[in-house]
Every structure is written in structure tokens, then in C-alpha cells.
């Protein structure tokens, strides 16, 4: 085994970039308007009770778990692409929204998180 380092470094980068934790990150869109913003998070198939949304300073975190309940007994996977298990996604909100009020609800498989400036 003379050539180990060379051989491996060729695909070092591709392997190394796979190095991550066992959580997946859902995709989000962020919308803005005066006095608030709306975060849309693609979380189809996640039960509402399995999601948690939290705001710490200006950091908004959405985390939870997507379970894969079998469609029916007796079915076997032929392929799987959808990420399951624990997920987590954090983003920093625009200035001026720290400590804002957040509400979340589901629509068509999207989790909609509304962040509103505290009206005083």
C-alpha cells in the first residue's frame, strides 16, 4: 500500500464535505415587509406536534423530527430520498425584530412562521 495518500486525496474533498451531523436542514424562504417578516419552511409530512419554533435574540430556530410512518403494513421501501429524522434550521432575523412576537401554522405542507414587531 504505497500510494495511499495520493490515491485518497483525489476524492478527499468529496468525502470530507460529507462530514456532518445526523440532522438535516429543511429549506426556507424569508419574506419581509415593514414591521415583520414571514419564514416559510418546507416541512411536509411533519406532524405539528413534532415541530418546535423558538426565538432567542435575533436567532430563529425551527427544529423537530420527521417520522416515516409506514404507509401500510407489508410495504417495503424500494427507494428513499426524503430526509427523515431530526432536523434543525436556524436563521438570523433582520435587525429590529429581536424579541418580536412569533406565530406559526401549517399550510399545504409548509410551516409558516410570522414574526411581528411588538406593537406598543
Amino acid at each position: 500500500m504505497r500510494d495511499k495518500v495520493q490515491r485518497t486525496s483525489i476524492f478527499f474533498l468529496s468525502r470530507a464535505s460529507d462530514f456532518r451531523e445526523n440532522v438535516w436542514a429543511p429549506e426556507v424562504d424569508v419574506y419581509r415587509r415593514a414591521g415583520g417578516c414571514l419564514v416559510k419552511c418546507a416541512l411536509a409530512g411533519v406532524r405539528p406536534e413534532d415541530v418546535a419554533v423558538s426565538l432567542e435574540g435575533s436567532k430563529l430556530t425551527i427544529c423537530g423530527i420527521r417520522r416515516d410512518p409506514m404507509v401500510e403494513e407489508g410495504w417495503e421501501h424500494d427507494s428513499m430520498e426524503i430526509p427523515y429524522g431530526r432536523f434543525e434550521r436556524s436563521l438570523t432575523l433582520p435587525d429590529g425584530l429581536q424579541g418580536a412576537r412569533i406565530t406559526a401554522h401549517y399550510r399545504d405542507g409548509m410551516l409558516l412562521v410570522r414574526v411581528r414587531e411588538e406593537s406598543r
Binding site: 504505497r2 495511499k4 490515491r7 486525496s9 468525502r15 462530514f19 416515516d68 427507494s79
Partner: protein, 785 residues
């Protein structure tokens, strides 16, 4: 955490040759049925967990507990799919270290009872120090092995705060022997793991240093290639272990298969194999990879030995030619002759034919027809606007973005080595052609040289001698001389109105109808309408505009039926305005009145013939000769010659010298900005001047053409057919022609010949007599009718 928490039962997947470390991803292919069953069980679980343990011995196919290492990794299946052959491909993500307490069988799969054994989270000075040493060594190793990756590596390694993760990362990329990898996994403290890694890396660095030294001592190309080759081999082995075949590998495999099967000359095969070897040694990201691949594809695509079976049967060929084209008797006969020669002696060197004629006279389509008659493939390319010799012969491969030349591309496109290759527009080879146009083309066309045609890109000689070349040109005069000498010119002149009508009726209309899906019950064009299309919607020697016009009529009719209407479409002359828009040309009428100083000439242009008027005017109190109207050099010279001739024959012509001594002359040839050149306006210039000085007009119904000499001789000119047809279009019925052009009248259709009056002349005197009735009287010569 209680004891209970740490023990659980998970489906077990034994793997060979590699170890899964926590925190890392690993792609796997699963073929064994027991493994597939374990995957199915894992997938059915909420968390999709599976425990992955490496086999001690790769040769065991149905491993029991004793065949497995005792420490493995719990993993989560991230992705999976099944290949058509049933093999499961999946990606697993290592979570944490476990020891295997018990292995048993459950519904066709192995199942393990496992206990978590997290490595001790030890720290301290020793761990710190070792960590630094390991980082150091790792960087050295990378620098030695692949200097360009150093920066990226450093970033990645420093990004991990946990020494254990770093060790696992290095362990997975170093491709250590399985036993070493397993030892890393089994290390139960960070210190142990770092110690092991340090040992492995030191060894690695030593080996690399030694090897680099040897390499630099014997720095030969072969050494480098050998090393790359080894690397390739090993990478492939790894990919095989992982059940992967990378796309580039599949690609080079495909090329290899094609190469093995292709029917190639030895020399070509050798070159192909050499390039393939180079390709296989390169990573696909290398810039050269694609260069070599495209090159190999070209070599494999080229028809080195593939030819279409030629079927020369003269009777059939004649029928094909007649089916496709009206008339063109001489050209067709010449082609049939050549086919006859080829049939008797397939080795005969075909002369290079060159079709010369105005646009739309059937040069290209005749070529297609010949190909059909011979059973060869047809391909055409234009030489017009070609700026660089390399476009013909290609660029050397050392050029960035190099490509083969157009000749080789054309051959590749037809897929046989004996096509009929038509090179259009030889007369339009760029003047700014870099390199020598004539010699580049000559090498391609010359049967002596093209057996070993050399394209710079291909860099192998390709035999073009089986190709049947035909070139085309609109203008004879601008074909480079050396080329012209090697070619046999066949002229396709323009068509008369009657011929156009015939061609339209027999060829163009049926063709356009079948293209639009019309039957003869659905669509007719009245003869009167066709005539009007020819006369008022087109002005051309060939058939382009006419074909387009007919096409538009057919499309309109097709639309009519497509809209659901059913009554047949009969196109009458009065429908044209609506279907084709307003008339575009009016019959060029001969001038109604000819004042002294004007004469009617005939010109030949690339697009056919044209009537042109030469006007001469006196410029009192000035001197010399002024010429305007975009006249070329040659035409200006004939104007001067005409002027000198008239002056030197003043007395004979009854011109009063004293009257004109103080006046200059201005000759103008109107009709737009079209550049005019050629010697054939000589007689017209002379007539205009004679008319001006004698103050007698030329005949209104007479057009003339011919070159003159200072001594008063009239020399023959070219393009007789086009000129006569143009005169006729303009309503002129009498034409003065050089005697020597009499033979060219054969080319004219009978109805044209019988309708026109021709006056053949040998001397300028005869021209003037025929053109200016008053002068005829003076000469008392009766012009020959």
C-alpha cells in the same frame, strides 16, 4: 443513562474492506439477500437504524458472529434505491460506536444486540500535543502527495474541534488497511486514537518522502505516467469495493469497447489505444480529459473503412437525373459519361467537376441528384466567407478549443468515406484567407494528394480519394486560377420564361404540392397565373424566388383546407395580388425614346443577365473623358478604347472634328449602385459615342454586347444565354453579337431563338452600322441580317 438504555437490538449489516466511522457518510451497495433483508428491516423502523460491522475475512459470504469484528457503528440510512438488477444502493451516516453483544438470525437477516461504547472524552496536554503533531503530519502528507489541495485540507482539518472526529476523517480518507481502520474505530480514548493516527501518518510521510526522492531522481515521463496509472487502478478498485462505477469510468469503458469493435487501420488503432490509455489515467476534472475524449470520439466516428455500396447503372442513373431536373442536357450527358468511366474502372480518378451558374439554377440540387443516381451519400459545405485555412484543415490539438476542419467534419457527418461532397462557392473563398487557399483546396481535391489528407486536429492521414467532389460557383472569373486549372467547368445558365414555366409545371409545383400535402384535385395554378408569377413576382435567372412564390401559394391552399374548407383552390392571375401581395417587378420596357448619345447594352451579372444603357454627353469647354456609374477598371478601359476608336475614325463616320475639339465627354452607365465590370460593353460605348458625335440615335429595339480592340475588331464575350434572355425580358428583339458567339445560340431554347433577330459582327464598323441606321446609310453597307 441506565444500563437498559445502552443495550438495544438492531438489524445488522456486515460489510467488507472498509469501516464506517461515526459522523461520516458511506455509500454502500448491497447484493447479499441476508443484507437486503436487514436493510428492509431497518427501513421499516422509525429511525432507520442499522448497525454496520466489518468482516474479518472478506472471503466469507455468510458471516456468523465469529467472522465479524466486535466493534461496529450504529448508522442511519439516509438514502436508498434499487438498481434494475436488484442491488440496493444506499448512503448511511455513522452515528456512534457500539460493541456487538450477540448476533442472531431473524426472518432471513442478522440482528445484533449492541451496547453503546462512546470513546472516553479525555483531554489534557498530551492530547493537545498529539493533536498538533497529527495535524502537522497530515499537512505534510498532503503537501507531498497533492500540493494543490493543501489549503483546502487545512481548512477542513482545522474546522473540527473534536480530535476524535479528525482522526475518523483522516482514517476514512487515507484508505488504510481494514485492520488499521478497525483499530482506529476500536480506540476507546482520544489519546489512543491520536496515537494510532500518528503512527500511521508518520509511516505514510516517510514512504511519500522516499518516493518523491526517487521520483525526482528519475524524473521521467514514464515514471509519472506509471504513478498515475497505479493511482487510477487503485481508485477503481476502491470504487469497485464500494460497488460504484463512476460515470467517467463507464465512459472510458464505452470508448474502449467501441475501439475494440471498430474496424480501423492499424495505425489508427494504435493511436486510438494510446489516447485511450492517456484518458484512463486522467481524472475527469483534468482539462485534457475532454480534449482526449472528443478526439477519441472523432476517431471512432470517422468512416475509416465504411463506404456505401456504389450502384452504377447508367440507364437508372439517367432516369434519376431526368426525374429530378429539366433539360440541362449537356451537363447530364457529361455526368453520365463520367459514371460510365467509373463503372468500367472504379479506380479511375474522377475529374473535379465545377458547376458554374447564377443562383437557383440547380447546381446544388443536381449534385444531390447525382449522389442519388450513384447510390452515394450527399453532403455539402460552403467555402464562402471562409477566413482561415484551419477551417478546412483543422487546428492542431495543442490549440485551446481545437476542432477538426470542415472536410473531416463533413465526412464524419455522412458516416461513409465515399460520399459526394459538394463544395459551394469556390468563387467566394475569402480574399483574406489566411494561408494559401488554392493550395489547401488543391491538396483536398487533388486525387494524387488526397489519399493521405492530413487534418491538423486528427493528425492521422485520412483517405479522401474515394470522395466524389463537385464544386460550385456563381462567377467563373473569381475562381482562383490554380484551382480552375484542375477542374472541369460545366455551365448551368439561366432559364428563359418558357423553361421556367415548364420546370414549374413539371417539377416545382408537384414538389411544393406534395410538401404541403395537396392533391391535384385540390390545387391548380392557372397558366396565366404562373406566367404572371414569373414575370411580375420574380426577377432572376434561376428558380429560387419562383419556387418560393409557388410554395407560398401552396401553403395558402393548405391553410384553406386545414381550416375545414373543402372546395378546391384554383389560383388565377387575379388571385395573386391577394395571395402574394402587390406585384414586385414590372416588365423592363425598352426605352421609348432614344436620344443621340444613348445605346443599349447587355451585361452579365452573377445573378443572370441585365439590360444596361450607356449614356454619353458632351461637356463643352472642357477636356477628356469622365466616367461615372460604378465602372470597374476593365470597363473604364473599354470606354477609353471606344473613345479613341471613334476619334480616329472621325472622317469615316462623318464627324466634324473642329466642332468637338473643344468639348469633353462624359460617359455614364446608370442602373444603380451595382458595380459593373468586364469588357463586354465596348461596342455599346462605341455606339453611344458615335451616336453622340453624329447626332443620330441608335435603334430602340436593338441591344448589343461585345469587346472591342483599338483596331476596331469585335471580340467574343461570355454569358450569351443570360444576356439574350434579359434582352428578351425587356422587350428587345434585335441583338448585335460578336460573330464568334454565334455558336452559343445553341444554348437558347428554340422559341427564343426563333423570336429574336441576331446580327453577328466582326468589326466595330459593322456594329455602328447595325445600331445607327443613319451611319449604315453613310457606309452604304447593308448590315447582315
Amino acid at each position: 443513562m441506565s444500563e437498559q438504555d445502552e443495550i438495544r437490538t438492531v438489524p445488522l449489516l456486515p460489510i467488507k474492506n472498509t469501516v464506517l466511522f461515526p459522523h461520516l457518510l458511506l455509500p454502500l451497495s448491497i447484493g447479499r439477500p441476508s443484507s437486503a433483508a436487514a436493510v428492509a428491516q431497518a427501513m421499516a423502523g422509525e429511525e432507520k437504524q442499522i448497525v454496520i460491522v466489518t468482516q474479518r475475512d472478506v472471503s466469507v459470504d455468510d458471516p456468523r458472529q465469529k467472522d465479524l469484528f466486535t466493534v461496529g457503528t450504529i448508522a442511519v440510512i439516509k438514502k436508498m434505491g434499487r438498481r434494475p438488477d436488484g442491488v440496493i444502493e444506499m448512503v448511511v451516516h455513522g452515528i456512534e460506536r457500539v460493541t456487538i453483544v450477540k448476533v442472531e438470525e431473524k426472518s432471513g437477516a442478522l440482528q445484533a444486540t449492541v451496547r453503546k461504547v462512546p470513546a472516553a472524552n479525555d483531554g489534557g496536554a498530551e492530547v493537545e500535543a498529539l493533536l498538533r503533531a497529527v495535524l502537522d503530519l497530515a499537512q505534510q502528507a498532503i503537501a507531498l502527495a497533492q500540493p494543490q489541495a493543501t489549503a483546502e485540507m487545512a481548512r477542513l482539518m482545522l474546522g473540527h474541534d473534536d480530535p476524535l472526529k479528525l482522526v475518523y476523517l483522516l482514517g476514512s480518507v487515507l484508505n488504510l488497511e481494514v485492520e488499521k481502520e478497525q483499530a482506529l474505530l476500536e480506540a476507546s480514548t482520544r489519546l489512543d486514537a491520536l496515537r494510532l493516527m500518528h503512527t500511521y501518518l508518520s509511516h505514510e510521510v516517510q514512504v511519500l518522502e522516499l518516493r518523491n526522492k526517487i521520483a525526482s531522481e528519475a524524473e521521467t515521463e514514464i515514471g509519472k505516467e506509471q504513478r498515475e496509472y497505479l493511482l487510477r487502478q487503485q481508485m477503481r478498485a476502491i470504487q469497485q469495493e464500494l460497488g460504484e462505477q463512476s460515470p467517467d469510468q463507464a465512459e472510458s469503458q464505452l470508448l474502449q469497447d467501441r475501439l475494440a469493435q471498430a474496424d480501423l487501420p492499424d495505425e489508427v488503432r494504435k493511436e486510438g489505444e494510446r489516447e485511450l490509455k492517456r484518458l484512463q489515467k486522467l481524472p475527469p476534472a483534468a482539462p485534457d480529459y475532454h480534449v482526449i475524449r472528443s478526439y477519441l470520439e472523432l476517431v471512432l466516428d470517422l468512416p475509416w473503412r465504411k463506404r456505401s455500396e456504389e450502384t452504377i447503372e447508367i440507364a437508372r442513373a439517367r432516369k434519376v437525373l431526368d426525374d429530378d431536373h429539366y433539360d440541362l442536357k449537356e451537363v447530364k450527358e457529361r455526368i453520365l459519361e463520367q459514371l460510365g468511366v467509373l463503372k468500367m474502372n472504379p479506380q479511375a480518378k474522377a475529374p473535379i467537376l465545377c458547376f458554374v451558374g447564377p443562383p437557383g439554377t440547380g447546381k446544388t440540387s443536381l449534385g444531390q441528384s447525382i449522389a442519388r443516381a450513384m447510390g452515394r451519400k450527399f453532403e455539402r459545405m460552403s467555402l464562402g466567407g471562409l477566413h482561415d485555412e484551419a477551417e478546412l484543415r483543422g487546428h492542431r490539438r495543442t490549440y485551446i478549443g481545437a476542432m477538426p476542419g470542415r472536410i473531416i467534419e463533413a465526412i464524419r457527418k455522412c458516416g461513409v468515406n465515399n460520399p459526394l461532397l459538394m463544395l459551394d462557392e469556390v468563387d467566394k473563398l475569402g480574399q483574406d484567407f489566411r494561408g494559401d487557399p488554392a493550395s489547401a483546396l488543391l491538396e483536398i481535391l487533388d486525387p494524387e494528394q488526397n489519399k493521405n489528407f492530413h487534418d491538423n486536429y486528427l493528425d492521422l492521414s485520412f483517405d479522401l480519394s474515394k470522395v466524389f467532389f463537385i464544386t460550385t460557383a456563381n462567377n467563373f472569373d473569381t475562381i482562383p486560377r490554380p484551382l480552375l486549372d484542375r477542374m472541369e467547368v460545366l455551365t448551368l445558365s439561366g432559364y428563359s420564361e418558357e423553361e421556367k414555366t415548364e420546370i414549374a409545371r413539371r417539377y416545382l409545383i408537384p414538389r411544393q404540392m406534395s410538401e404541403s400535402g395537396l392533391t391535384s384535385a385540390q390545387f391548380v395554378i392557372a397558366p396565366e397565373a404562373l406566367r404572371r408569377v414569373i414575370e411580375r413576382y420574380t426577377r432572376e435567372a434561376g428558380l429560387r424566388q419562383l419556387e418560393r412564390g409557388i410554395g407560398r401559394l401552396a401553403h395558402k391552399a393548405a391553410l384553406h383546407f386545414a381550416e375545414g374548407k373543402t372546395e378546391p383552390v384554383a389560383v388565377g392571375a387575379d388571385d395573386l395580388a391577394e395571395m402574394l401581395g402587390p406585384e414586385r417587378f414590372f416588365l423592363e420596357q425598352a426605352r421609348n425614346e432614344m436620344s443621340p448619345g444613348v445605346a443599349t447594352g447587355l451585361a452579365w451579372t452573377e445573378t443572370g443577365g441585365d439590360v444596361l444603357y450607356v449614356e454619353a454627353a458632351l461637356l463643352p469647354e472642357s477636356r477628356g473623358l469622365t466616367l461615372t456609374g460604378h465602372l470597374g477598371e476593365v470597363m473604364q478601359e473599354s470606354a477609353r478604347a471606344a473613345h479613341s476608336y471613334i476619334w480616329s475614325h472621325c472622317d469615316e463616320l462623318g464627324i466634324s472634328r473642329s466642332q468637338f475639339r473643344k468639348a469633353g465627354v462624359h460617359i455614364h452607365v446608370p442602373a444603380g449602385a451595382i458595380p459593373k465590370d468586364g469588357p463586354s460593353a465596348g461596342v455599346t460605348m462605341a455606339s453611344a459615342l458615335a451616336s453622340l458625335y453624329t447626332e443620330h440615335p441608335t435603334r430602340r429595339d436593338t441591344a448589343m454586347t461585345g469587346e472591342i480592340t483599338l483596331t476596331g475588331l469585335v471580340l467574343p464575350i461570355g454569358g450569351v444565354k443570360e444576356k439574350v434572355l434579359a434582352a428578351r425580358r425587356a422587350g428587345l428583339r434585335r441583338i448585335i453579337l460578336p460573330k464568334e458567339n454565334q455558336k452559343d445560340l445553341r444554348e437558347l431554347p428554340d422559341e427564343v431563338r426563333s423570336e429574336m433577330e441576331f446580327v453577328f459582327v466582326e468589326r466595330v464598323k459593322d456594329v455602328l452600322a447595325a445600331a445607327i441606321p443613319e451611319i449604315a446609310k453613310q457606309f452604304q453597307v447593308v448590315p447582315a441580317a
